[in-house]
């Protein structure tokens, strides 16, 4: 009988462990790595830790926290402020400000009540942090909350700004775009229901048009003065990738793997290509070349005319947008032994970074 009791208890413990292994409190594989870079350092938000890596050599400078803490998870792109801070949102609901040179903590903003998934918009004086708790938090550069505004859904997209109006635009998962006064937080307008959740950062033109992709399989142009719709373009699938605006052309991808180029004035298609798997990241344009990754394992280099110039298999799964600094392209794959891969502008590997245990 004693052995039967041991069997029952062991079975229950084993089942507990198995089910707890899927616990939502563990953040692994719930997001993809965030990346930003200065002229000499790359900052990588890779789950439990943030790594500062030398841009030229790929050697580690520091990591934060020094010992991985499973309660903290960094996945959004870190942002460098003009006064020399590195601001990083976390899934533990907090916004961390670090010294980019040493990784030491400056301050922590703990006003959010849910995960911080999107990157903050940083201006000269303020940090605008979107939160899954449906609020947009405006904090100053010392971490003090200045204002907070609620929308109708979780906020995953990085806000956008328009210096001409002194306002902040935020795309919400409640299917609407909101415009708030950057200084006071007063709501200036909100758009109509755009037919699908919005998770990508809008692009804003200098002539008063905001472009945002939706899960309603559309790219939509809005008037920045009142949020009315200027034009709509139907895509093949959900648009997760934020559009990038260059020379009045919008470039973005969708989850079917199409990369589109649209005339920003009227939303007509200039070209589209389907290189590989789903495109989640926002393309990066330097000169006449565009760098983007697909959900498979490849970095593509495409001309702004829509011709594939080259491609480079990196490995793992790539969701994060590449970052281009000077002559270096940085890619942060997920589920790969190297957390960071540095390449030349032609796609030749320079170095890889795998953190020492």
């Amino acid at each position: 009988m004693k052995s039967k009791n041991i069997l029952v208890v062991s079975t229950i413990i084993l089942l507990s462990i198995l089910l707890s292994a899927c616990s939502s409190t563990l953040y692994s594989s719930t997001g993809w790595h965030g990346l930003t870079a200065s002229t000499d350092t790359v900052y990588l938000a890779a789950g439990a830790q943030i790594y500062a890596v030398d841009l030229n050599t790929g050697s580690e400078k520091w990591r934060y926290p020094a010992k991985a803490n499973s309660k903290i998870a960094f996945y959004a792109n870190p942002v460098l402020t003009s006064d020399g801070q590195l601001v990083v949102p976390s899934y533990d609901h907090k916004l961390y400000s670090l010294n980019p040179a040493t990784g030491s903590e400056n301050w922590i903003f703990a006003g959010s009540t849910n995960r911080l998934i999107g990157s903050p918009l940083v201006t000269e004086k303020m940090i605008y942090q979107p939160s899954s708790d449906e609020h947009l938090y405006a904090v100053d550069l010392t971490g003090k909350q200045i204002w907070v505004q609620q929308t109708g859904g979780p906020l995953w997209a990085k806000p956008a700004t328009d210096p001409n109006c002194g306002c902040v635009y935020i795309a919400s998962m409640d299917h609407m775009v909101y415009s708030f006064d950057a200084a006071t937080g007063k709501q200036l307008w909100k758009s109509a229901d755009l037919g699908g959740a919005l998770v990508s950062t809008p692009a804003v033109s200098t002539n008063g048009v905001l472009f945002v992709g939706t899960f309603g399989k559309e790219m939509i142009a809005l008037d920045t003065t009142n949020g009315t719709i200027r034009w709509r373009f139907t895509t093949q699938n959900w648009v997760w990738s934020g559009p990038v605006l260059e020379n009045n052309v919008l470039y973005f991808g969708d989850l079917s793997g199409y990369l589109y180029a649209l005339n920003a004035s009227d939303g007509t298609a200039l070209w589209r290509i389907q290189p590989q798997n789903s495109i989640v990241d926002t393309p990066v344009i330097t000169g006449d070349k565009m760098y983007f990754t697909t959900e498979a394992d490849t970095l593509f280099i495409v001309s702004t005319a829509g011709d594939i110039v080259s491609s480079k298999v990196i490995g793992g799964i790539i969701y994060s947008s590449p970052v281009v600094v000077g002559e270096t392209v940085l890619v942060a794959p997920t589920g790969f032994n190297a957390l960071l891969v540095a390449l030349t502008l032609d796609g030749n590997q320079k170095w890889t970074y795998t953190p020492a245990k």
């Binding site: 009791n5 616990s23 995960r115 899954s132 998770v199 309603g216 969701y319």
Partner: protein
Amino acid sequence: MWNTFILSPMVNVLIWIYNFFFHNFGLAIIIFTILIRLVTYPLTAQQLKSQKKMQELQGSKKWQEIQKKFKDDKEKLAQEQMKIYKEMGINPLGSCLPLIIQFPIMIGLYQSITLAMASAPIQLLNLSRDIYSFIPASQLIPLNSKFLWMNLGLPEISSPNALIIAGFAVPIMTIIVVVTTYLQSKLMTPPANPGDQGAQMSKMMNLYMPIFMGWIAYSLASGLALYFIISNVLGVAQYALMGNIHWSNLLPKRKVAKAK
């Protein structure tokens, strides 16, 4: 395989119910639980039938005799027991099967809830691929995860509106899960026959199962705790309707005085 036959259908049924019932995910889980109970009803009935037969068998003279006769020869005892099972048409695993079936459902439901709630980017990407084309996903996502004080996609104590007492989040759903699981186990366990070897095992299960379920409810998405509670209540109601509730199990047992 798992995704195609278990996870995807479960997620889609949940979202389909959500779409029809006021866009309330808590309500969708409750209706889904009722559906699961209805679908597994034949198994529950089978379990009950097997349980009754087994109890009758274990109380029979023939059974008691072979227990005594072969008490020192376990192999022979097992052979004789199997012979009697065959004769009486009893499947010895018949009463365990519905319990075993509960586990894939539980795991599938947990995965469905976290997938449907899509509270992180990779979950949302996966969801976009799992939704069937007839469901208007782009209009429904993100699903409204608020129900009572909970965010159904997060553990109860991580919900922004969790009840805080003296600085600590009180896991109300976990407490209800523990209580209802204990009550369900007690009410459904038939009185033991003398010499019943399974009685000790049942006693252990009645003690550890509520703790196990409580731990799961505490550490995983609160939507799962809601499923456990509704499932427990429905289980008791179902057994009561079938006339198999043992209310006497809740009363304190009097110790029989040993004859002097």
